[in-house]
């Protein structure tokens, strides 16, 4: 697989503050990288460096084989940025928007019509192309925002929270569009605060905090880091006869805690042991009113690694 992004020991400081503190990673062609991190983690600085807007203080960056310091214009020609803000003109038609922004890239005049059409089709706005964005819903504007960034067929697409504040239907459309772009060979960096989006589309997830990459891997690999477990909670009606030791002895149980008729049992996620726990409770003469279970998720991983919720 061809390497599209190669970053080694990237650093960026704002005065004494290290916004990016020596990160390294690579991306191969057709890969979707989900970039997660709380506010101030260094995601935007990294994105701004990759888009050549900011100069790094240290480190090497190569995008599509071009050195960031030596060939910034060649890099710009090969990347498409979907900014968090809606970067579109409201007073001209959707088609004119895409045409104007695509025209800023070196494209053959003959290709432009086809590329504009292709971009609008991809985001599902072909039939609204003659309308002005000021008449669009928030979701449609977001889709146009994407079309303007991809019409020149960039090899690397960087999306910075492209689905903020839109309806589920538009969100699904955008996520499907991103998968289509990958199928066409685009490499995508997807920065978001929505964990479920990353789970749905990313091949690999990178979590940043305080300027460094604190975890990286597939969803399954990250969940493994945080301990792949299931936590069961029982609200018991009576617990005076319960022998906690008997529950602890069930294979796969890692921890048992009983306090004021609240029983918490932690187990390895892969083990199917709920029936054994319930049988043991009945054997001990215990009945319960309510039972809940919770599995380790990306949200749990994120919380454990950063100490913050993603949307904080």
């Amino acid at each position: 697989m061809k390497t599209i992004v190669s970053i080694r020991n990237l650093e960026k400081h704002y005065g004494p503050k290290r916004a990016v503190a020596g990160i390294s990673f690579t991306m191969t062609e057709g890969e979707i990288l989900g970039l997660l991190g709380p506010n101030g983690a260094g995601k935007s600085t990294t994105i701004n460096i990759l888009s050549t807007i900011l100069s790094p203080d240290k480190g090497e960056v190569e995008i599509v084989g071009h050195d960031l310091r030596k060939e910034p214009l060649a890099i710009k020609q090969n990347i498409g940025i979907v900014p968090q803000d809606l970067a579109i003109f409201e007073e001209i038609t959707a088609e004119q928007n895409v045409r104007f922004f695509a025209g800023l890239y070196k494209l053959k005049r003959d290709d432009l019509d086809e590329l504009v059409k292709e971009a609008l089709e991809l985001v599902g706005l072909e039939d609204r192309k003659k309308e002005k964005p000021k008449t669009f819903s928030g979701g449609m504007k977001r889709r146009l925002n994407i079309a303007c960034a991809i019409a020149h067929r960039p090899k690397l697409i960087i999306m910075d929270e492209p689905t903020v504040g839109i309806d589920p239907q538009s969100r699904n459309h955008i996520l499907e569009s991103i998968k289509t772009l990958r199928e066409k060979g685009a490499t995508i960096i997807y920065s978001t605060h929505y964990m479920e989006e990353v789970e749905a589309i990313a091949d690999r997830i990178m979590i940043m905090n305080e300027g460094v990459i604190i975890a990286e891997g597939t969803k399954e690999e990250l969940i493994q880091i945080a301990g792949n477990e299931t936590i069961y909670r029982f609200e018991l009606n009576n617990s005076q006869n319960l022998d906690e030791q008997r529950i602890s002895q069930i294979p796969g149980i890692t921890n048992v805690h009983l306090a004021e008729n609240q029983l918490t049992v932690q187990s390895e996620k892969s083990k199917s042991i709920l029936h054994a726990i319930i049988a043991t409770l009945f054997d001990n003469g215990c009945t319960f009113e309510k039972m809940t279970s919770k599995e380790t998720s990306l949200e749990t991983v994120f919380l454990e690694l950063t100490g913050k919720r993603l949307r904080d």
Partner: protein, 248 residues
């Protein structure tokens, strides 16, 4: 080619904006009409009518106020957001601010040519008769300076509102001491000194000398000074324009 495409696009954006269109094409005529009407009794029936006097002074003031058009064309909220894409595109940063200067200059120049023509041939205001092309050159240079100055203020301050409000202060001071609203003649040495350092005074003086004295001696130095000042503004743009500020 891409630079011209961006400039043409910016040009269309300005003329689509009714407020900018009004301030460049209608407001100067309104100002001339109001000031000329209110002060006509002070001017008598001599060679110079109140409309002739305020025709030149109000056009000079309006041409300077192109600064506001420039700041709006560069950093009005909607335009600024869309400009983010230009920053991501493979174009030099100079093309971004130069396109704003060029588009503002073209809109301003065309507007003032229209106003001068309407004023002279429609309302009978004396804008120089056969010498009208020289007045057009003079006002165009002032529009160029206004376009460059407004864009420079945006590059330095990074914000339309700040750039507009801060720019208004020197414009008003130079205009007041330059004799735009009332003649400063006979108001004492201090006012005379301040009047002499006001570029507006020399532009108005130059225009009146061309129109009434057939005297072109000030045209070249005033034009070159405005061109030089515009070049300085462009240099400051290049040094201070930070594209990354658009993305933050």
């Amino acid at each position: 080619m891409r630079f011209l495409k961006i400039a043409a696009f910016d040009f269309r954006n300005i003329i689509r904006n009714p407020t900018l269109l009004f301030s460049n094409m209608v407001l100067p005529l309104v100002l001339i009409g109001v000031m000329g009407f209110v002060t006509q009794s002070f001017f008598g029936s001599g060679l110079l009518s109140s409309y002739d006097y305020y025709g030149i002074t109000m056009i000079t003031l309006s041409a300077l106020l192109v600064i506001m058009t420039a700041t709006n064309a560069f950093m009005e909220e909607q335009v600024k957001k869309a400009n983010i894409r230009m920053i991501y595109a493979p174009i030099a940063k100079a093309e971004i601010y130069l396109s704003k200067i060029l588009s503002t200059f073209l809109v301003g120049t065309l507007s003032f040519i229209f106003i001068l023509m309407i004023g002279q041939y429609g309302f009978g205001i004396n804008f120089g008769g056969d010498h009208l092309p020289y007045i057009v050159i003079l006002i165009s240079m002032l529009v160029l300076f206004g376009s460059c100055f407004g864009t420079m203020m945006c590059c330095v301050l990074g914000d339309e509102e700040k750039a507009s409000s801060i720019s208004q202060l020197p414009v008003l001071l130079f205009s007041a001491f330059g004799g735009i609203f009332f003649s400063t003649y006979g108001l004492g040495k201090t006012v005379a000194f301040l009047s002499n350092v006001s570029p507006v005074k020399w532009i108005v003086e130059c225009a009146f000398r061309i129109i009434y004295d057939n005297d072109f001696t000030l045209l070249l130095p005033v034009t070159l000074s405005l061109l030089g000042a515009s070049a300085v503004c462009i240099l400051v743009c290049q040094l201070t324009f930070k594209p990354e500020e658009f993305t933050c």
